[in-house]
Subunit: 480 residues, 2 copies
Amino acid sequence: MTEVEAKKPQESLQDRLAQVIELLHRHKLVEDLTHRQEGQHQQLVENLVHRQNLAELQRKLDELHPADIAHILEALPLDDRLTVWQLVKAERDGDILLEVSDAVRESLIADMDDHELLAAAKEMDADELADLAPELPRDVIHELMESLDAQQRERVRSVLSYEEDQVGALMDFEMVTIRDDVTLEVVLRYLRRLKELPGHTDKLFVVDYDGILKGVLPIKRLLVNDPDKQVAEVMATDPVSFHPDEDAYDAAQAFERYDLVSSPVVDKNGKLIGRLTIDEMVDLIREESENEVLNMAGLREEEDIFASVWKSVGNRWAWLATNLVTAFIASRVIGVFEGSIEKLVALAALMPIVAGIGGNSGNQTITMIVRAMALDQLGVGNTTRLLRKELGVALINGLVWGGVIGAVAYYLYDSWSLGLVMTGAMTLNLLLAALMGVLIPMTLARMGRDPAMGSSVMITAVTDSGGFFIFLGLATLFLL
Amino acid sequence: MTEVEAKKPQESLQDRLAQVIELLHRHKLVEDLTHRQEGQHQQLVENLVHRQNLAELQRKLDELHPADIAHILEALPLDDRLTVWQLVKAERDGDILLEVSDAVRESLIADMDDHELLAAAKEMDADELADLAPELPRDVIHELMESLDAQQRERVRSVLSYEEDQVGALMDFEMVTIRDDVTLEVVLRYLRRLKELPGHTDKLFVVDYDGILKGVLPIKRLLVNDPDKQVAEVMATDPVSFHPDEDAYDAAQAFERYDLVSSPVVDKNGKLIGRLTIDEMVDLIREESENEVLNMAGLREEEDIFASVWKSVGNRWAWLATNLVTAFIASRVIGVFEGSIEKLVALAALMPIVAGIGGNSGNQTITMIVRAMALDQLGVGNTTRLLRKELGVALINGLVWGGVIGAVAYYLYDSWSLGLVMTGAMTLNLLLAALMGVLIPMTLARMGRDPAMGSSVMITAVTDSGGFFIFLGLATLFLL
């Protein structure tokens, strides 16, 4: 797609969103009126006002950057969203589709006919097409592939052949290549003939006649060096490069670590096949962190905030069901001790404290470990040390906070033995929380699973059932 | 600081970390031996091996990019970390200090004397100095400021005058400025005279004689246009720019939205005073998402995973204490109904299910709302609609899962009225969770607070106390 130079927005995003909503409301108000009052003259006037409002809204939208329209679409409920979508100029459809989140994209595509989809898709580059393809109707894809030339079709297929989390799925093909035996002057003249450079071109890729990557020529060096010098003298050999089957998240970390703007992607033989750019990596970093938040909270994936009630139920039911099972198990643990509770009903009031603090503390530990693992900070050598530290923290917290709550229990129920059991149970449950907070994510990782996935639900399950068992068990042993 | 062109790493980060740990262990093993066996000949040999190991480690470190050394330092426990830190060549100290996390930086600075700190800091640019300054000893800062020229000192002061989350605190001063009345040819010659361009220079800043920003000249346009053209013909007027007192996170979102690499920072009069670059924005995006995760889990800030036990206790105690208070309130709610539990002990076993599912569901809602707010998707116009949707989801979940668990309760305790109370309590608590899941973050935001901060603890407090109250209350009304 052609690039739009972003202009300075006149108002903040929030203001623009508010304006669009205001215009939409006026539009709907008029619509309501026309429906109610069917007098002919009335209707004519209303229609006029109606059309004026829509025209104003359209003018507003035409001024906005595609990314801003995407943002507004995401913030609107479905009916308003489609009203705005229909007002957007057809030639901008493609740009906007590429900017919106998957969930919202689905709702927009559902509103377009095949003809509109084809028109939008024809403006796209191979990597953009591949990005959109999974959500397009089968016959649209078929027609689209037919219309591409052989190279483009090959590229779309190649991008589609990689998993979503591999470098190959994120690469584009807009690299500018040069040879190493020409002078910088020649390179400068060659660039001028291109008329336009792809976005994020901070380096040119130096390849030999077989397309093997020999180095990169940073634009910075091209600009400051004597034009009579040869590319080979000035280029950086051995640049950071990636393979298409590498993990995309590792690539994003490398971009972050080495402050890269673009980077070559090469195949096994060192042949240049594409490039990665920082904008894709930023999206990935954002997505990855968000998935961590969503996963820990038990949402399956990013949710369109105005998704239908049924869709939301679908997105959330899996974790709720899991949680129901774990809560049921905890309930059964309590059930085992019903006799003890009957004899000493204070146990029922105190037991959620032990379980709750354990859950909170376990979540602190597990969050920290998951983060350290995501940042590759946990190696083989340092697990034991980490476990020892977490157990130390748990022991201190258990004795301090367990002591406080034990004193409170003594004060409330006038039983020093109940207070001691409370302190003991808190300490043991915090130690359990620390132990499992380290072991759960590590075991998940060793099994090749995402350690963030459901770790919060699991640790809470352990500290709930464990906490009830420890507290009620100790109470049964020592108090009854 | 001078930039290092990142080279392709030979091994993965994990491998490199493992190698360093391996060399450190060998080094320590030898040290232990030397301590134990004090025979003179023995000691000589050991010392030799010892020195060989350290030399090998140093060679290894010299090959690595500063960002990679920073990563290794972060992954090592304190004593190993300082061993490695002492082996790093002094001239690289500054680069590495700028790369490590705040928590680890503190531990490294504590290990350096004033002389070393001054040497490291003298290599830095004004913005980098300002970044480091808060952690340096007062007399080092004083001596450092003395050694700077007037402009540099002014710049450091200016960056330090902004809050951490303002654009001014993140800007640098490495902008290349040009006039609009010269030809591109002149610009190209000017750049060549500079010998080196600052990192992330994807555009030149066009200013008038008073330093007022008139536009930007993207390097891409400089390269593809006829050198005889004037800058004014080719430049982009009205580029995206920022004010130093703007919210840095808003700037980061703009970078993400408009795919920017660098952007001018101007004062109220439109005078160019600095620039923002994508690398700082990526760090910010990463940090912001991480803070969200940490805050929701009740960790005050990023924690050095090998921080001392006491530091960790300090980082975590605030949320644990808050949680203790909320757990205590929930416990008192149960205390009110102790009479009912005494009569029907099954209530004690079932009540954690109602509270737990409510907490899980409330956390799902609140996570989604907090995310939508962070992305600026929630405006005035759409709150009611969102609330209605969340209540709808809660009603369905309550009836379905509440029905399931009600049936289980009936099966276990053979009481259909207990089952009905269970279903009713689940439904009501899920509705409460949805209501508060929307209202809590919105109220926090209206009060000007960060909606992510502690929202998880608060929703859990509400669904715990509320869940116990609803369930035990209904049971007391209808079952006893």
